[in-house]
């Protein structure tokens, strides 16, 4: 391990800013990050030990205690659950005779859950060490169980286990345009920085990560910010459950994205690019590295990019380690700098004080892909599609109760109903647009439109038919937020956990009207008082569901609160320890 550690540290130039990458490598070699390794890394990087331990403890893909040699994590998004993930997980747990989260006695395997892994169109899905496996069935679970027992390295397992299917179902402006690597770079260089920014402004392009901030405004602010070095960051930390469109863009339209980053570099005068890929997409690492190497060989990255003397730009790949909050741009920057992914105070904004406190534009994968094409075709070409306030198209990830899950690129302004019709949704009860932090639509609202001015979306569309329990969906989302809260601010840290417990109680039929009132109170408080978007949106599923599916709650809760737990059962351990069974050793659950 010592030699491995030295090699890892050398590979990352003993740069404390690369701590997340270093710890990922330690995990890959050792299976966990031991106290000794934390000390060694801290000494080698001249960082406080507490800092390294803090980072190791923050990301859910890092373990500070020994896990199994095979670390299995089932994706626990609601769409995975609907496809039967929990029963498959139980099958595996039974096979190894362990509990969820436990390591088998021989240290062979541990089985746990993880937040959505972005394979909702081909779930249920899991991660085993650094590999993603989709389309799980009892047969595949059986095969994986045998392979684990056999002890062969995951990398040597049959290739068909790791196949990730592509489901691009509808192409429009972005996915349908012919494009070759370098087209965007050449067009941008021909136009010059000012004209690229002008075209972006005329295109009306707004950020595709969900917030819809004007890309032109962001780029202009960064271009105007003083600083020796500027950075372009591509946010490919696609963590919103139910979203997988960036996965498809990176897998099949990578040149569009990398060209887009280079176009942004031209526009703002950046020399350094960072692509932050979520750790759940390990299958994209090698293709992206290969594409970057290819672009360097072809003069599309490096010195004098595209033959333009003096325009130097290169792109580094950073890989995340399982933290939803890192999708928030300032948390993402912290993570890129090798820290815990805790959102910064803003202002100052990343455009002036971003990566390493230098001017930085952080854009979503889809935004950058659009920018590459706008550089080629001009702003008017893009603006001609969509609505006046939402120009262009939106790439949606459709999953759940539909016949054809996958990626659909539709013009902004398309009715949700039309998207669902194309995807083959039947008997729709509800649709979660934009993931848990987005909007829950009832079946009566399907005429609403995908647009920043109506239903904004980072891309997720999860469909629930009439057989689904809406409270179960909300419960899944509440648990998700409680798990992903970074813990920095009290409203979100405490509020997400309170909501999680309240929803669990309501779902178990132990809740009362008061619990429902508390859900509303906590959700509103989080919205008003949280530090970042995670907390301000964490109450959305609860508030939307209460507004639109109130009877489902009322049917499940008592008007007067009764005991929230089984009183007599709660005495059972003490009865066992004292060997008592007299009347006083019991509690009547019905007594007033």
């Amino acid at each position: 391990m010592d030699r491995d550690l030295s090699a890892i540290l050398a590979r990352h130039h003993h740069d404390g800013g690369r701590l997340v990458q270093i710890l990922r490598d330690v995990m890959a070699v050792a299976g966990h990050i031991s106290p000794g390794a934390i000390t060694r890394v801290a000494e080698a990087l001249a960082l406080p030990r507490g800092h390294v331990e803090g980072v190791a403890g923050f990301y859910s893909f890092f373990a500070t205690e020994p896990r199994g040699r095979y670390r299995v994590r089932f994706s626990d998004n609601v769409t995975d659950q609907m496809a039967g993930s929990r029963a498959l997980a139980q099958r595996m747990l039974d096979a190894f005779r362990i509990e969820l989260g436990e390591v088998s006695r021989d240290g062979l395997v541990s089985v746990g859950l993880t937040s959505c892994t972005g394979l909702c169109d081909q779930g249920p899905a899991m991660l085993v060490n650094d590999h993603a496996i989709a389309r799980l069935t009892p047969a595949r679970i059986g095969a994986i169980t045998s392979l684990i027992r056999g002890g062969s390295p995951v990398a040597q397992w049959p290739d068909n286990l790791f196949r990730i299917d592509s489901h691009i179902r509808r192409r429009d402006l972005l996915l349908g345009a012919p494009f070759a690597a370098g087209d965007g770079v050449a067009a941008a260089l021909a136009r010059g920085a000012a004209d690229v920014r002008l075209q972006i402004e005329q295109s009306g392009l707004r950020g595709r990560g969900g917030a819809g901030f004007s890309t032109a405004t962001k780029w202009a602010a960064c271009a105007a910010a003083p600083g020796p070095v500027r950075h372009v960051v591509c946010n490919a930390d696609e963590g919103e459950p139910g979203t997988f469109k960036d996965r498809e863009l990176l897998a099949h339209h990578l040149d569009l994205v990398l060209d887009g980053m280079t176009v942004a570099a031209v526009a703002v005068g950046a020399t350094h690019g960072l692509l932050y890929l979520r750790g759940e997409y390990p299958f994209l690492i090698a293709p992206i590295q290969a594409a970057l190497a290819d672009r360097r060989a072809r003069g599309l990255l490096g010195r004098d990019v595209g033959g333009a003397r003096g325009f130097d730009f290169d792109i580094e790949l950073h890989v995340g380690a399982g933290a939803y909050v890192c999708g928030e741009e300032s948390a993402l920057l912290e993570s890129l700098e090798g820290k815990r992914g805790i959102p910064r105070n803003r202002p100052p904004y990343p455009v002036t004080h971003g990566y390493r406190q230098q001017p930085t534009v952080v854009n979503n994968v889809e935004t950058l892909a659009a920018a590459a094409l706008i550089a080629v075709h001009g702003g008017a070409w893009f603006r001609a599609v969509g609505t006046p306030r939402s120009a262009g198209t939106k790439i949606l990830s459709v999953s759940g109760d539909v016949e054809r899950p996958g990626v659909y690129e539709v013009p902004f302004g398309t009715a949700v109903r039309d998207v669902l019709a194309e995807a083959g949704a039947l008997d729709v009860q509800a649709v979660q647009v934009g993931g848990p932090s987005g909007t829950l639509l009832a079946g009566s609202e399907l005429g609403r439109r995908i647009a920043f001015e109506d239903v904004p979306s980072a891309g997720a569309v999860m469909v629930f038919d009439r057989t689904r329990d809406i409270l179960g969906v909300v419960d899944n989302f509440a648990r998700f937020f409680a798990h992903e809260s970074c813990g920095f601010c009290t409203p979100c840290r405490v509020g997400t956990t309170l909501n999680h417990h309240l929803m669990a109680r309501v779902c178990a039929g132990k809740g009362s009207r008061r619990d429902v009132d508390d859900l509303v109170r906590v959700s509103r408080l989080m919205k008003a008082a949280s530090h970042c978007g995670l907390g301000t949106t964490a109450g959305n599923p609860v508030l939307d569901a209460l507004a639109k599916f109130r009877p489902a709650f009322d049917a499940r809760v008592a008007s007067e609160p009764g005991p929230a737990f089984d009183l007599d059962e709660a005495l059972a351990p003490a009865r066992e320890a004292t060997a008592r069974d007299d009347a006083g050793a019991h509690l009547d659950p019905e007594a007033p």
């Binding site: 005495l571 003490a574 320890a577 008592r580 006083g584 050793a585 007033p592």
Partner: protein
């Protein structure tokens, strides 16, 4: 026939108790100091550690400190709920479980084993099993996990001023509001 005169203003009947608490909240109640005298013009005490009356009778207001840690706590809490029109959870333990709930991550069987059988210095120990003793619950719970609670008075303990303001509001028929300075979380 009753004389046709207005009834004298009735005093509010109040009961208090401490379940799994430390009596710190009751001490804080006493900390309202000389204001106890005007308070006693407005209330009369029923069951309370201050009166030593053991069983709660019909009351307007019940004030409980401490969480629910054993079977006896459940019985007392249920009696209070039955007898009191308004029930108040006073202090961090009643509201959230508080310090006693620190044991919630331990198995209560292990706790009993360690304390009565295997702990340091324990000789010829046995786990008490007299039917008179209330059994501990598997976990410590806040009051509202067992019965309906009408008002929550947070604090560890709530300050004397907070308790005073809270009681004045209740007696006057106002929804209690703890403004700035009366709630401290740290």
């Amino acid at each position: 026939m009753k004389p046709d005169v207005p009834e004298p203003r009735k005093k509010l009947r109040v009961a208090t108790t401490s379940l799994a608490g430390c009596f710190g909240c009751h001490m804080s109640l006493l900390d309202i100091d000389e204001r106890l005298i005007p308070l006693l013009e407005l209330i009369e005490l029923d069951a309370s550690p201050l009166t030593d009356k053991k069983h709660v009778g019909p009351c307007d207001l019940g004030i409980i400190e401490g969480g629910v840690c054993n079977a006896d706590n459940v019985h007392v809490l249920r009696a209070f709920r039955q007898q009191c029109k308004i029930l108040v959870a006073m202090g961090a333990c009643a509201v959230n479980g508080g310090l006693p709930a620190q044991r919630n991550h331990l198995d209560v069987r292990d706790c009993l084993q360690t304390v009565y059988l295997t702990g340091l210095g324990v000789e010829r120990g046995f786990i008490p099993n007299d039917p008179e003793l209330p059994l501990p619950l598997a976990q410590v719970h806040p009051l509202h996990d067992v019965v309906k609670i009408d008002y929550f008075l947070p604090g560890c303990p709530p300050s004397a001023d907070a308790i005073w303001s809270f009681l004045n509001d209740l007696i006057a028929g106002r929804t209690p509001q703890l403004g700035h300075g009366l709630i401290h979380y740290d």
